[in-house]
Symmetry: C2
């Protein structure tokens, strides 16, 4: 690998003012046209130039017959022509002074054919002459701040945030970007780099490490090009920003699949585990875990949370909480008899328990009571974080009896305000669990109410998870990361 290129103009790459899309059918089909529509839909505000040898128009937008015919230069090229035409198009973009090109086209080394390999080599040669390449065989970049979007991505969020994600897989990049709107994750940059002939994991990691807009770095890796450089960079970056890594192809079978996907070399599960641990990076095993972990890092202050309180309904939740906590090295210390009694006094009887975990026994306990319990629980000096499990779906029964829409009777706004006050007063974070077993067609109103509730909490900076065990796992990763840092 070349030394990390300090002169790359990332500003022009991630916030381009002028974009050329090379390979746009006037019929509106194909990757080029779809990305054009997506950029318009998401509201990219810069200039877009379209290119196709046949010329013509797309939705009233002129199509230039050649790259050379574009008036003036452009910052970023998006190339979506047939593989065989890519090297020439790339060279033309370089001559136009583009800072980078993202190449959506497939048909290179991932085919495993001599022709594919040769074409990819040609791309590398052009890149070496002075244009950065993202791809080929990728879905591009999503940058909420500038309105750049991955393929297809017309409806991704424009709200910028702290998470950067680099992915060898385009599908993973699109899925993860899409998950932002539902989970509350917000992004600085998402980069799908496919075969990664030029700009790829190590250099992006280094850049994200320096990027002021990025606080948390997530990576989907199938294989790295230069293990030593990657490890060195990972160690350097993870020392000051959390880096969360999902390594695909850890199994023997998965490793073979990696070869045909992005033609990169894998590495055994044990080696990866050791490398990531040594660099104090966080290892996750699927994209949902990645999303939860990023969300936890987004909303929780740096530090460790080893002693927690859990407040929920049903004794089995307490059992599940204890199991889940112990699995990630967290403790749910029982409250003192005095504190327990004061909490007991707030709760409906019988069936409730003011110990830790607190069993409120009834899903309809008023937000004010839950708030008061959280305030009391925070008085225990050992408690560093509180988990509140809501059971809002049970309101459906009441809504039906009252003949009212369920979202009108669930006090999620009041609870969100109350929880935010608790966090303010106690300086201890509260994590919310929005449990919902009612997800079928008959309960779309419950599903929608849960999403409204999620938004109410997220907008107050309160992280929300679907499941207690999954939330504990995410918090466990925070403890591992910050615990690992202080050990140094």
């Amino acid at each position: 690998m070349d030394p990390l290129n300090a002169s790359t103009d990332y500003e022009r790459i991630f916030h381009p003012e002028r974009i050329a899309i090379i390979g746009v059918s006037g019929k509106g089909a194909g990757f080029g046209a779809r990305l054009f529509y997506s950029l318009r839909a998401i509201g990219y505000a810069g200039e877009i130039f379209l290119v196709n040898p046949k010329g013509g128009q797309l939705d009233g937008h002129e199509i230039y017959e050649s790259i050379e015919a574009i008036p003036g230069g452009f910052d970023l090229a998006i190339i979506a022509v047939a593989a065989s035409a890519v090297p020439e198009a790339l060279e033309a973009c370089r001559l136009k002074g583009a800072a980078a090109a993202e190449i959506l086209s497939a048909g290179f080394s991932e085919l495993g054919t001599p022709e594919g390999m040769a074409l990819e080599k040609q791309i590398m040669d052009v890149a070496a002459r002075g244009i950065r390449v993202i791809g080929p065989n990728c879905f591009g970049m999503y940058v909420p701040k500038s309105g750049l979007t991955v393929l297809p991505g017309p409806d991704l969020s424009r709200e910028p945030g702290p998470v950067a994600f680099s992915s060898q897989s385009g599908g993973m990049a699109v899925d993860f970007a899409n998950m932002g709107k539902s989970t509350g994750l917000t992004f600085s940059k998402v980069v799908s780099f496919g075969n990664g002939v030029d700009l790829r994991e190590t250099e992006l990691l280094d850049y994200f490490g320096q990027d002021m807009q990025t606080r948390i770095i997530a990576m989907y890796i199938e294989g790295v090009k230069n293990g030593d450089a990657f490890f060195k960079t990972l160690k350097k970056v993870a020392a000051h920003k959390p880096v969360i890594v999902m390594k695909g192809g850890l199994s023997a079978a998965g490793s073979r699949a990696v070869l045909s996907h992005t033609a990169s070399m894998g590495g055994s599960a044990r080696i990866w585990e050791a490398i990531l641990k040594q660099a104090n990076a966080v290892q996750v095993f699927d994209m949902s875990e990645m999303a939860r972990t990023c969300l936890a890092f987004t909303h929780l202050q740096p530090g460790t949370y080893r002693h927690i309180s859990v407040l929920g309904g049903g004794g089995a939740l307490g059992v599940a909480a204890a199991d889940a906590a112990e699995a990630v090295g967290m403790k749910i210390p029982p409250f003192s008899p005095d504190l327990k009694t004061r909490i007991d006094d707030l709760l409906p009887r019988p069936g409730s328990s003011g110990a830790n975990p607190v069993d409120v026994a009834n899903p309809f306990v008023a937000p004010q009571v839950l708030k008061d319990v959280l305030l009391l629980a925070a008085e225990d000096d050992r408690i560093e974080l509180q988990i509140l499990i809501t059971l809002f779906h049970h309101y459906k029964t009441i809504a039906q009896m009252m003949g009212m829409p369920v979202k009108d009777i669930v006090p999620y706004n009041e609870l969100a305000v109350g929880v935010a006050e608790v966090i303010d007063k106690t300086s201890k974070p509260v994590v919310l669990i929005l449990n919902n077993p009612k997800r079928g067609l008959d309960h779309m109103d419950v599903v929608e109410m849960i999403e409204e509730a999620r938004r109410a909490f997220l907008k107050r900076g309160i992280p929300v998870f679907d499941d207690l065990k999954e939330a504990m796992g995410a918090i466990g990763h925070i403890n591992a990361y910050y615990g690992g840092k202080t050990d140094e």
Copy 2:
């Protein structure tokens, strides 16, 4: 534990024609009244008698002043009076000839007080004189066929099915029953038995083992009363029906939580793992995994599925599939060059791959093409099961461009019909993955479309999972169970 009671009249317990609810407030509040409303809402067709010393009416329904005042006998009592009044009420029900009583009331041994213990002992004494007791501190029973429902449960499905579930936790029972409507799980019986002073895990397991309406047995266990009897029964039943067990409180902390929840003794994680393995029971670690596993057992024929094909979009899915398959001992054998070429010829180029996993490269490949690929893949004699990963959420983009509702343009019905034909022709099961990262408030139309699609597949007997890795885990459990059986 007493010898298993062969004379218990389970027919009267699970399909009661007359129910008495003891402890119903005329104001409609409390467990008794709520269960009354729930029974009416779900459509229980038998007679219901309400009892409260104050008499009066609830919604036009007469309230008797005493149990003795009820005209004639009843099959099942539902007791929801204060703990101290439970033994006397139970005795009165026994004298009325009730086959059983479910006691919703809490305030017994789970409190850990001498009073609670003493009251529980009194219940046991009455039970020993000839009435079966479910509870106390439980949420009752859900039996779709008879319209019996757990608390609150007014909107659970009335469709009967093969899964029986017994649960020490009421919350788990309600959640699991609720999950039926969204996951497609259908139940023969769900029993929440709380403190389990009488009828509990071992006897229910034995009964479910003999019950003609039950094919699959699921259990949430916090602790068992008699380890030897439980193990003996488990081994006997698991020899002819799959038994899926979630043990709560496996950690040290969880074990302490169990004590305050249902006052039962736990047991270490290692012991439980060994016991369950030896009995060829299936161990799961959360309720979602339980639901997925039951769904797989519901729809897949007895047998093992060790060689599979995977058909999806995106190379990373192939990598993930390979990793997930290997983790549960399954193989995704590459197709012969000839078969690969024939599949390649059906797929869009470039970016696709006809190897196994098959990467269709495009989420909009027509159902007819997917069907043809499945038919070709089934020609490989090694393949025992096929997994089809759909990416229906991508249609949202097209729907927006066309100005049409997304559910009108997604060809899920056509695909469901096609897949059902493939299963018919090839006699090899197909498992569907309905992946959806678009779950936020902006995408409620996608969420609803996905649920419509889920129903279209489920009603044709095709199991549907949200996630590939999770589906593989469920199939892995089937392999472990039937593989374990043949080893004997």
